[in-house]
Point group: C2
Chain length 591, copies 2
């Protein structure tokens, strides 16, 4: 059953169409609050929708919905919340004067992703402030930026996972206009834009959607509170809301890929799972637009099913973040073994991550206290996104300290080599490329005192597992946010500059050499000497073989394989055929 | 990781091995209560198991487990609860003097199922009391009996879905010895035995397993309370408990198939779903025993995935109950449209049930208020079990009244013809074959006053949807149980006898004619005239075509198809080529 697109859609000529799903209300009125105050009755439609087309309303006008002559609420599908999560919604321009009309059109295997948080990436913390940095990202070799969630959240400081208006680009970041400018500029630089969208929960403040209808279910719990209703009564409309959201970003904002946050928190027993419908809708829209558009979930399920085609019982999603690779790599270069790291730390885990994708493909996990995962054997390398740092792995630590502040530069380079020359899709976290020293701490700017205290308590509980050395920073304190801002000045010289150049060279190598360019399992062979922590990855393409030999041990290691050395991570002297501790070389073996 | 089988296993020579999973306890002792009182410490094993091998204990001895020197509890894997759900567990004989050493070995397509409730099938209400009736079931043409759940439940009167000791055959039914005698007798008559097992919840009284370990999770809710923990911490052991249960019935009781109750209430997000592991374990055991053993879930998911092979993303279960067929058939012969019947009642629904299996394969369901189901197109006819009555459809009514008391005999015969000549696996509910007049009411015999009141309240709420004509029978009142006992004397004459003979003849026809014998989609074509409510099912095999023409209308209908009439449901006169209201004919068209 088709119904109007939810939200306020400006049709041109001072006409605006309003549609809201509010099955919990028997009467809904449109309350225009600006520039003139007006109350307009809305027509009830099938399945709980209410609609109105108003002839004298233009972009910039603000409104609320009045439910049963009682509560006044912003639009769940608001396109803009100029006054924040509690204020009225604003009608925005449907059109935008796009400058770049070419899309990057990257294939998944061409993605080299740079994850960034808009608020802390620049001093201004806005979408537009990112634009001047794009040439440098291009210089580095990045092909896609990934924006941490930008849906309107409470206050002005937030990682983004507390968003409550999935269609509204954060006001303090510059709102929808700023986001469009950023995407336009990215496309002008042939950079793709990935948007992190949160379809597993809504934030705790300004969360009014339950007044409209059964967006939530009590049948399931998530770590972040009430689960969204994807399989109960009225779930078609809840699904439609989020699917429209995905299509909105793709269509109206020209977003190239969606990173789907934490799909393991989407519980759905239906015969036609939401995620399968979402993937199909995204791909259908991609077809209509003749563009390549991808859905890339974060998944803590280690379930290859989500990436398999629907014909094989899968959801048909395109790629997923692979935390196992991170944990195996991280524990190979640090001594961390607490919390979920307890499941890793053996060299064979890293070997398996390179060779198979998931480390846990059905074995018992001590941390989870159950067998975990299934085989990733059927997946292609381009379906797994890997990283040595990301916002979670940095930020969800007691002090939000980066790998940079934990290990020496040699190990940082080794980690970079593991990620960037891997047969997978690499992702960097902003600042990693030059060894940023600022932490990435957890920060919020809620207004409800009880909620703030609850968040503080939650953080304290979370970090019981990670033995702390000091107090947990107060997430509500603006200082946590300010401390997390990047210091790009660092990369003007010294080791930071050297690391940046190192990253750049590695990415250049990946792009230049056919055998390294394509993340694929077919062209890759992984072997290892566990005792000496030597990992050898052989990759082939165009009659050329490239060998990457990594030494994860703390003593020099001899490598048997021979070839022309085209890259070495270690600046220190090494004897012929020997690898320094925590270093790697790239060898070329032509035919 | 392998560990000992849970429960008390008699090893012979007065030795018994005890194993219990009790991760919630740090110390477990075996308290032998009979014939001599003894306390024996148990050894802690990995993963929360405790074990002991005792040299001087024989079958007949009774015991409890003492947890942390505090609570004393029966064994969750108790094989026998001679004193009911609150009393000690009893060690049983491992061996049994089986008389019949041949198994029926039926293929799924040969099943003609007779569902019965042990307590009300006979005046005695025991397993052994069923045995004298087996010849008559064989005479009727039945090939398998299906026992409603027999796991130990509170008191002596219960449908069985309140069972709390999944390994213990109900004491008031005659316990494990009685059940083995029944299975042995069935096999002697070449009857298969299907056991209804409940792996989605445990009953509310005598439910002590939570004292032992995290059998339950709070992350999900089921309609019957706490959900079993199939994907959280320690879920491997919970799964193992139930998988061992399935294997126990198959191995030690020679059960031929398991009916898995309400799998839609099993929530499991793991990458290796419990139901898939269960199906694999059942089939593996079948292979070891060189027997055909099936897993047949009740599923309200309309999700063909559960029956697809794991290679195609399925669970690999064998067949499922198809409620859609029932609802479409039922609303075709009654005026019922309340509750879930509101989704049915159009003749095309019945046509679709015959042609495709699921009626809801993705359309919007008014009752569920969402789209429901996916296509059953990939399924074989033998994967769908159909019925015009079953314990739920009869018993979950205000008065538990059977179809017999709602519609005339002509319609009963029509329903029988639809089920028994369908290209699916037919199931009868005890007494249906002769038009039993006793209701099948809901009955319990709990001992907790609060619980009893809660059940009464629950029933009242449930039947708000089905407009009632009178009070709801008190489920705790023994009268509800006694009223539900069969009156087999009815079939000694009159219309009841005629109906019995009718059923017998139909089943005979199904077995005799190759085209009717095999439930298959390939050999079946369904056509219909919706206006006249005429359904024509053509089936082919061995160069022979059989046409079954059903008239679901209340006026005589002309049928176009010609052939030799080999069966007619209507005893009344009909003109040549005409079908009386609510009747059917079977025509043979040789080549």
């Amino acid at each position: 059953m088709k119904h109007s697109q939810v939200g306020a859609i400006y049709l041109g000529g001072a006409r605006t169409q309003f549609s809201v799903w509010a099955p919990a209300a028997s009467r809904v009125e449109l309350h225009l609050t600006h520039p003139q105050e007006r109350i307009i009755p809305m027509q009830a439609q099938p399945r709980g929708y209410f609609e109105a087309v108003v002839d004298t309303v233009e972009p910039g006008a603000r409104y609320l919905y009045r439910l049963d002559s009682d509560k006044e609420r912003p639009d769940p599908a608001s396109r803009f919340q100029p006054e924040g999560v509690h204020g009225p919604s604003e009608i925005i321009q449907t059109d935008f004067p796009w400058q770049s009309n070419a899309w990057p059109g990257l294939r998944l295997e061409e993605y080299i992703i740079y994850e960034l948080h808009t608020g802390t990436y620049t001093p201004d913390g806005t979408f537009e402030a990112i634009i001047p940095h794009l040439p440098e990202l291009v210089e580095l070799g990045i092909t896609a930026i990934e924006l941490m969630p930008i849906a309107q959240f409470p206050g002005s400081r937030n990682w983004g996972y507390d968003g409550v208006y999935p269609f509204a680009a954060q006001n303090s970041y510059g709102g929808p206009r700023g986001l469009r400018k950023l995407v336009d500029a990215c496309h002008g630089h042939k950079l793709a834009v990935i948007l992190d969208v949160v379809y597993n929960h809504l934030g705790p403040e300004g969360n009014y959607v339950a007044d409209f209808g059964p967006y939530f279910t009590d049948r399931y719990k998530t770590p972040w509170g009430r689960a969204l209703n994807f399989d109960g009564e009225h779930s078609d409309e809840v699904r439609s809301f989020f699917i429209q959201n995905a299509v909105y970003w793709i269509t109206d904002f020209r977003i190239d890929a969606l990173r789907l946050d934490a799909i393991h928190a989407i519980v759905d027993q239906s015969a036609s799972p939401f995620l399968q419908e979402l993937a199909a809708a995204i791909h259908e829209r991609a077809g209509e637009l003749n563009r390549r558009i991808y859905a890339i979930p974060e998944s803590a399920l280690n379930d290859s099913r989500i990436l398999r085609s629907p014909e094989l019982g899968g959801y048909g999603l395109d790629a997923q973040w692979n935390d196992d690779f991170h944990h195996a790599l991280r524990t190979a270069i640090t001594e961390e073994r607490s919390g979920y790291y307890q499941d890793y730390g053996e060299f064979r885990h890293l070997v398996k991550a390179f060779g198979e994708g998931y480390v846990y493909s059905g074995q018992y996990s001590s941390y989870r206290r159950r067998r975990f995962g299934n085989s990733a054997g059927s997946l292609s390398g381009r379906q797994l996104v890997v990283f040595s740092q990301n916002h979670d792995q940095v930020g969800n630590r007691l002090l939000g300290d980066r790998l940079t502040s934990l290990v020496c530069f040699e190990r940082l380079k080794l980690a970079a080599g593991a990620v960037l020359l891997s047969p997978f899709v690499p992702l960097l976290f902003m600042g990693e490329e030059y060894g940023e020293t600022a932490p990435f701490q957890y920060f919020i700017s809620h207004s409800d005192a009880e909620l703030i205290e609850a968040v503080r308590r939650g953080r304290r509980q979370e970090f019981q597992a990670f033995a702390g050395k000091g107090d947990i920073p107060d997430p509500q304190d603006e200082a946590a946010f300010l401390r997390s801002k990047l210091n790009p000045g660092l990369k003007s010289g010294g080791r930071h500059r050297a690391l940046f150049d190192f990253y750049k060279e590695l990415i250049g190598l990946r792009c230049k050499i056919p055998a390294l360019r394509t993340p694929s399992r077919q062209n890759t062979a992984v072997s290892a000497c566990e005792e000496r922590k030597l990992l050898v990855v052989q990759r082939q393409a165009d009659q050329q073989e490239v060998v990457i030999a990594y030494n994860f041990g703390d003593t020099p290691a001899e490598i048997q394989v021979r070839g022309k050395e085209i890259f070495a991570s270690s600046s220190g002297p090494a004897r012929q055929g020997m690898l320094n501790p925590y270093s790697f070389v790239v060898l070329l073996r032509g035919d």
